[in-house]
């Protein structure tokens, strides 16, 4: 395969026969998934075609303000999704937005200053997307862990409060536990990079004709930036959100 060549329409049509394999299994095993498979394939094709044209248009724009607005839009959407995971987290949307925004800004600034990337749409949008979506997943995990810890470790928190501790020392174990939960998937995936998986970005570069040694450099950069973003976002989100589990009299709220 000549990777640098673009895939022709006829190649795609032949590849679409792979969908028939899936349909065959569904029919043969009476999984009753045929309708869903067809709908999902049609949706995937339409969405990807649309996003392809949108990205081509966006990448053509050289206006930094537009790129920034797009990043804010992406961060807001991610914050909205993350906050939905955090039932019981007060001001979840605001906290998530600030955490994701700070994590993204710090990481992007370092990448731009180190000249790893440039502030141009075709670089910033995909890289920013990776950072933001990773933060979103990390925050969702942090919130879930925090809400469950405040419910299950009520005794520990109240014991510490009853000794006269403020809400931070009473919750510090829960905060640490939640930050850790947010960061662990990124750390774990960094550990197994190249051994268990060749990540999407590296695979994409290799398929596009970049030499594996060159693609590795990008992947190393991506690994560093994801580690930095998840730690910054998880840290900010957890330190802002634990307070919402207490009332103004420093009493633990009842969780349903």
């Amino acid at each position: 395969m000549n990777a640098s060549n673009s895939i022709s329409i006829s190649s795609l049509l032949i590849a679409s026969s792979l969908v028939l394999v899936t349909l065959f299994f569904s029919y043969w095993q009476k999984l009753k998934l045929e309708k869903e498979i067809i709908i999902s394939v049609i949706r995937a094709v339409i969405q990807l075609v649309a996003v392809g044209y949108v990205l081509e248009y966006i990448f053509g724009l050289q206006n930094p303000l537009f790129i920034t607005l797009l990043l804010i839009f992406m961060a807001f959407n991610a914050a909205y999704n993350a906050s939905k995971r955090g039932k019981g987290i007060k001001n979840g949307l605001m906290i998530s937005f600030v955490s994701i925004a700070v994590g993204t800004i710090v990481t992007l600034v370092i990448l731009i200053f180190s000249k790893a990337i440039q502030y141009e749409a075709y670089q910033i949008i995909p890289v920013g997307g990776m950072i933001i979506s990773n933060s979103m997943v990390a925050l969702g995990l942090c919130y879930k862990q925090m809400a469950s810890d405040f419910k299950n470790k009520r005794e520990e928190v109240e014991t510490k409060l009853s000794l006269g501790a403020d809400i931070l020392p009473s919750s510090i174990e829960i905060i640490r536990d939640s930050i850790k939960t947010g960061m662990l998937p990124t750390i774990d995936s960094a550990k197994t990079l190249g051994i268990v998986s060749l990540p999407g970005m590296m695979t994409g570069l290799i398929l596009a004709g970049t030499s594996p040694v060159e693609a590795i450099k990008y992947q190393i950069m991506v690994t560093f930036m994801l580690l930095s973003t998840t730690s910054i976002s998880s840290f900010i989100a957890c330190y802002f959100s634990y307070k919402g589990f207490f009332n103004s009299r420093k009493q633990l709220n009842y969780l349903k």
Binding site: T159, L161, S162, L163, G164, A165, Q251
Partner: protein, 218 residues
């Protein structure tokens, strides 16, 4: 003068009145035993005293000042609460003993620790013991020591001898009596009727969230 006063205090949770319009005056130096059937509101009464929950109506007054006018953490440092099920955090005993010092930004007072370890018959080398291997009675005594490192003005005890054998129950009772003699006001929830009348000067009986009786014993 009352040290702690409940003025028409009620506490409701999910529409149920757990404490129902209680008025009570606790004098400085009192040793009050609190008895009553399970679910009568005894533990909730102690939680209200330690300001871990607030009344849904009525007010609690400490030293002639409403609870809500105090900084909650300062209040809880004066009114110590020892739970029915002792919760020891961290890995070792020392982490539990260090905690009350660290929240006050103070260095560990080894003399005070030794004093309390002797008082509750805990060997000195227990400081480095893993909390997971301690017996229920040992955990309860360590929790008591943790609560008493800084002498509280009021000590709230919730069935703290329920996991102890008779020998250790006696030791804890003696320690609490001696603290009461030194001026600590004690509010002790117990199921043990004999224990409730042994040392207390007042016996408070709670039923259905209300005060059934307040008997002066001595």
């Amino acid at each position: 003068m009352s040290l702690l006063e409940f003025r028409n205090v009620s506490f409701e949770n999910g529409g149920n009145a757990i404490i129902d319009n209680i008025s009570l005056s606790i004098e400085s130096g009192d040793y009050i035993s609190v008895i009553g059937p399970s679910g009568s509101g005894k533990s909730t009464l102690l939680k209200l005293c330690s300001h871990l929950i607030s009344p849904t109506s009525g007010s609690i007054v400490y030293k002639e000042k409403n609870f809500i006018d105090y900084d909650p953490t300062k209040l809880r440092k004066s009114i110590a609460y020892c739970f029915q099920t002792p919760y020891l955090f961290g890995d070792t005993v020392i982490e539990n003993i260090r905690f009350p010092f660290s929240i006050r930004n103070l260095r560990i007072d080894q003399k005070r620790i030794n004093e309390l370890f002797t008082m509750f018959y805990i060997p000195a080398d227990y400081l480095n013991k893993d909390v997971k291997i301690l017996s229920g009675g040992e955990k309860q005594r360590i929790a008591l020591i943790r609560t008493l490192l800084f002498k509280p003005e009021i000590l709230l005890l919730d069935e703290v001898t329920s996991a102890l054998d008779s020998e250790n129950t006696k030791n804890v009772e003696e320690a609490i009596v001696s603290l009461n003699r030194e001026g600590t006001t004690v509010l002790w929830v117990t199921h043990n009727l004999e224990q409730s009348r042994k040392f207390a000067n007042k016996l408070l009986t709670i039923e259905g969230g209300k005060i059934k009786s307040l008997e002066v014993l001595r």
